[in-house]
Amino acid sequence: MNWQFQTAAPDALMLVLEERIDIHVNRAIQRLARELADHAAVQEVVPSYHTLLIYYDVLEVNEKQLRHLLEPVVKALLAAPEDVTPQQSSLHTIAVCYHPEVAADIEAVAAATELSVAAVAELHSGTTYHVYALGFAPGFAYLGDVPEQLRLPRHSTPRQKVPKGSVAIAGQQTAIYPRTSPGGWQLIGRALQWPELQAGDRVRFKPMSLEEFRRMNDQESSNG
């Protein structure tokens, strides 16, 4: 696999693999993240799809020395066979209500994809997703890949307020908004509970009816 280092900041180096959203590239990044996080000169690593940001201790090494130190580690890891089998990563199941009453864009998504609302829900919940990265906001997990038929661009003007728990799609990605925030993705469902996700985890969505959603919502508010 092709790779290179890039200067990212006076105290950070970026490791760049092949630029595509691809589960194998991403697994290599996550493996490198685990490996390099333990390196003596490394302070913190931040993985994304095909890139890994490496913050290091400038009192210990300069960038040239760090490149020299990390190069053999990267080479060895990329040459080794992929070790993350799906069975080893955690699988989470998250209940989602796809009813138009709580999913502002699902009817528009159905129209744009020439599918029924039920078919959109079925397609979205019929896939096991891989957590590519966390970012944008605390706990915001980028999941993929969304089935081909459901791939739509984000809104040209983002919404000011996307409700907490919204399940949304954009291109080949899907996500849950962990708190109410602005956002430009297509809202196709709502979840009430979800675990803290880690890069590399797997996620499935399980449809729930509007009645179930309301019952759970009432329970949550009476508990809280």
């Binding site: 900041a9 931040v46 400038v58 009192l59 300069n62 966390l134 708190r179």
Partner: protein
């Protein structure tokens, strides 16, 4: 809390509790936070003999008033806003003595944006993910741990002071801590620098830029007479380092500051040096700045000096 030291009478536009920042959680999408003008913040702690990470109040655009609830040493650094202890004008950048009942008022002028109120020992608050730094956008940190800024009536405690304050109690006059009329902001080539056309890289340092009103703790938008052309296309989101200069398709730069999102998809032409970031944190809308390319080695040397001088340990 029995040890309360300061009560907010008037928070002004935005007053937030900040320590050096939240580190080690970027992979979960949790950003740094921390002081926008790190230099002013670190100086205040140094003057008081506090740990580098001791929490302070970051006051944005003055108009701030607070009462001391007990005797303490304190310092205000950063923007040279007019400072009053009761009716007495007092100086920024030095250690001052407050008595219980004294009122501190911070005014405003156009000499900067942010100042830092530090007390001996540092303010105390429960930490979230290892830090009290307030990140309003993410609902993290601060006195209530939920990202809300400081409000009228809030009372803050402080930790026991561990060290004696420095004898001189002010930075050496040889140090120039004021903001020059047209600041030079040093930028290290970084990110997608090599993908930008040579013309674009020359233009970034060949024209002056104006700081715009589109700025907050997340980022600062700048505007040049000529926009950069042939900007590389947006990319798959990648981790976004503090100080990065992003160039969206409109060809005008955005400098990413302390509350920046952890991932971003715009191409980056470079990254601000430590000093440049501290300077930019103080520049009001309308101020002109000039970018200048700097070698990575030099920027690293500067960072090492800062870490050693202020005894920063991460």
């Amino acid at each position: 809390m029995a040890n309360q030291v300061v009560q907010i009478q008037q928070p002004g536009l935005l007053a937030t509790l900040q320590d050096y920042g939240r580190y080690g959680h970027l992979a979960q999408g949790i950003t740094h936070g921390g002081p926008m003008d790190e230099r002013a913040f670190l100086w205040a702690n140094r003057l008081l003999g506090n740990d580098f990470n001791a929490a302070q109040i970051e006051v944005t655009l003055g108009q701030f008033k607070a009462t001391f609830l007990r005797d303490t040493l304190f310092a205000v650094t950063g923007a040279e806003f007019p400072l009053r202890l009761n009716d007495q004008m007092v100086k920024t950048w030095r250690v001052l003595q407050a008595r219980a009942g004294d009122t501190l008022s911070i005014g405003v002028n156009d000499l900067g944006l942010r100042c830092y109120l530090a007390v001996s020992g540092g303010f105390a608050a429960p930490s979230v993910h290892g830090s009290v730094a307030t990140v309003v956008r993410d609902g993290l940190g601060g006195l209530r741990q939920d990202g809300t800024p400081l409000q009228k009536g809030d009372a803050l405690g402080a930790h026991q002071a561990k060290h004696k304050t420095l004898e001189s109690r002010r930075p050496s006059s040889r140090l120039n801590l004021s903001i020059p009329p047209q600041p030079l902001l040093n930028v290290v080539p970084a990110g997608q620098w090599s993908k930008f056309a040579r013309k674009a890289r020359e233009l970034l340092v060949g024209q002056s830029y104006e700081v715009t009103a589109q700025q907050d703790r997340m980022g600062v938008r700048l505007k040049g007479m000529h926009k950069l052309t042939d900007v590389p296309q947006s990319m798959i989101s990648e981790p976004l380092p503090l100080g990065s200069i992003q160039l969206p398709a409109d060809g005008q730069p955005i400098a990413m500051m302390n509350d920046h999102q952890t991932l971003g998809g715009y191409p980056k032409i470079g990254v601000l040096t430590w000093t440049a970031r501290c300077l930019l944190a103080q520049l009001p809308a309308g101020r002109k700045v000039q970018f200048r390319w700097q070698e990575l080695d030099e920027a690293q040397r500067e960072l090492r000096q800062v870490y050693r001088f202020f005894n920063i340990r991460r």
